[in-house]
Symmetry: C2
Amino acid sequence: MSKGKYYFSKSLEKGLRILALFNRNTPVLTQSEVARVLELNMTSTYRYINTLVEMGYLEKNTKTKEIRPAARCLLMCVNLMQATDNLRMIKEEVDRLHRHYNISIDVAFAVDDTLVRLYHREAEEALTYSLPEFSKNCLHNTALGKAYLAGLPEEAAAVKIDQMELVAKTDRTIVDRKILQQEIELTRKRGFAMQVEEYLPGVLAIAAPLYDPINNMGVGAVSFDFSILQHDARSIEAQYTEMIQETAQVLSGMLSPMQHRK
Amino acid sequence: MSKGKYYFSKSLEKGLRILALFNRNTPVLTQSEVARVLELNMTSTYRYINTLVEMGYLEKNTKTKEIRPAARCLLMCVNLMQATDNLRMIKEEVDRLHRHYNISIDVAFAVDDTLVRLYHREAEEALTYSLPEFSKNCLHNTALGKAYLAGLPEEAAAVKIDQMELVAKTDRTIVDRKILQQEIELTRKRGFAMQVEEYLPGVLAIAAPLYDPINNMGVGAVSFDFSILQHDARSIEAQYTEMIQETAQVLSGMLSPMQHRK
DNA sequence: GCAATTTTAACTATAATAGTAATCTCTTTC
DNA sequence: GAAAGAGATTACTATTATAGTTAAAATTGC
């Protein structure tokens, strides 16, 4: 076995990669699609899909052979999401701030290059299960994204920046890697990120990174969002610099309430 | 390899069984707990947990060694739940009925012996993500459970009944396997289940099984729930027998809207 | 009905895992 | 602060599960 990977199960990895293919836009797949996307041979693909089907995580349409997540998946997902219950506390705290100060607040975790929004001011609470939203390609053009990058170790951030696609959402979006590097540098030094009409015209935001308090690693960010009609960058910076950092600290403290049970 | 299991990946199974250990009551585990519960040796347990940690599905407290679901889990769960989007349609239809007829409606899927409630009249919408609730040990004492059992093939139902623990929730709960068998038989013949104060004093319900329309297998049930103060069993049966069966048919039709994409 | 494609099955060489035992790392206790 | 003990990690092979090839079914399109 390749050294250093003695304790890594490739089979488990492949199975999970299959499960992770499904989403709102791809609720159904065929075996050959899976094989193509994951670059697996048909036999292995068949084996892993069959395992997931036999375990009840996927179901296969016996006629069309299409596969999709099944009821047991739902059960596991509900369980897993309830297990990460600290997120509820975060939401409650954010709601409190939101009501009290009447500002829009976003909290997001980063997974690879995706920001998973736990709380979003335009949260459509009624949709499906009021699940969080997520967005890709926004690490460079949102306050949340820039704060998250600034919370990473310098090298890790540099690697991410090198690999990112710097999509220009507005004419203010940073599309130059050098400038983005400097911006993240600045953000890291002062402890908060600013975003001025870089994501959407008329929208400003200030954000600070969230840290896993135990492993002391950047895991996400929290932002306050404003309209250009009520605020300008200067006033936001004057008014909210401390508050965003305090909020980030409070929320970070909730991330790993990993007391010993019993 | 044991014959017949050529196309089943034990590694994937074990990894998923680890993920499936986490829930609201068990948000954190240690390696030895996992090993004990799943009857794996420490090395294998270490390997699978390490795989999940390296992939980002679990995170390990570097000090206490405790493990728990991580952000990537949340991402996958959200994706998977949104992939099963047909459930949204079900919820909308149920809400419509609920408003229109002013009756309490429950929709549930069965996973092993657990009923996963998609809609529950006491649904605490604000909790966490408004996730569904689930309950165990209620196949024998709820209309939902009895309807589900009646929707299964006779043999499968018989096996389940044999293995169930017939907990007496009230003095009306069926606790005798023979009587339960007969009750399910009756339910199967007439196409709906009744429950009269068998789960909670004062609560009645009528239910019908939900079928996966493609594989034509019983997968869950839908029920209308009433209070003894407003209704008795006779009047419910007179009034709702057809409606519950029609509702079950409509909802069943939504379960597998598996059109070919593109 | 006949290609073309997809899915499933049989079959081994090879790579991955299980399991044992040894080692390391904390805690606890005295 | 040493010793004991529990749990986690690593090293090491025998075993076995899986990858990949090939081929047979099954399905689809014509």
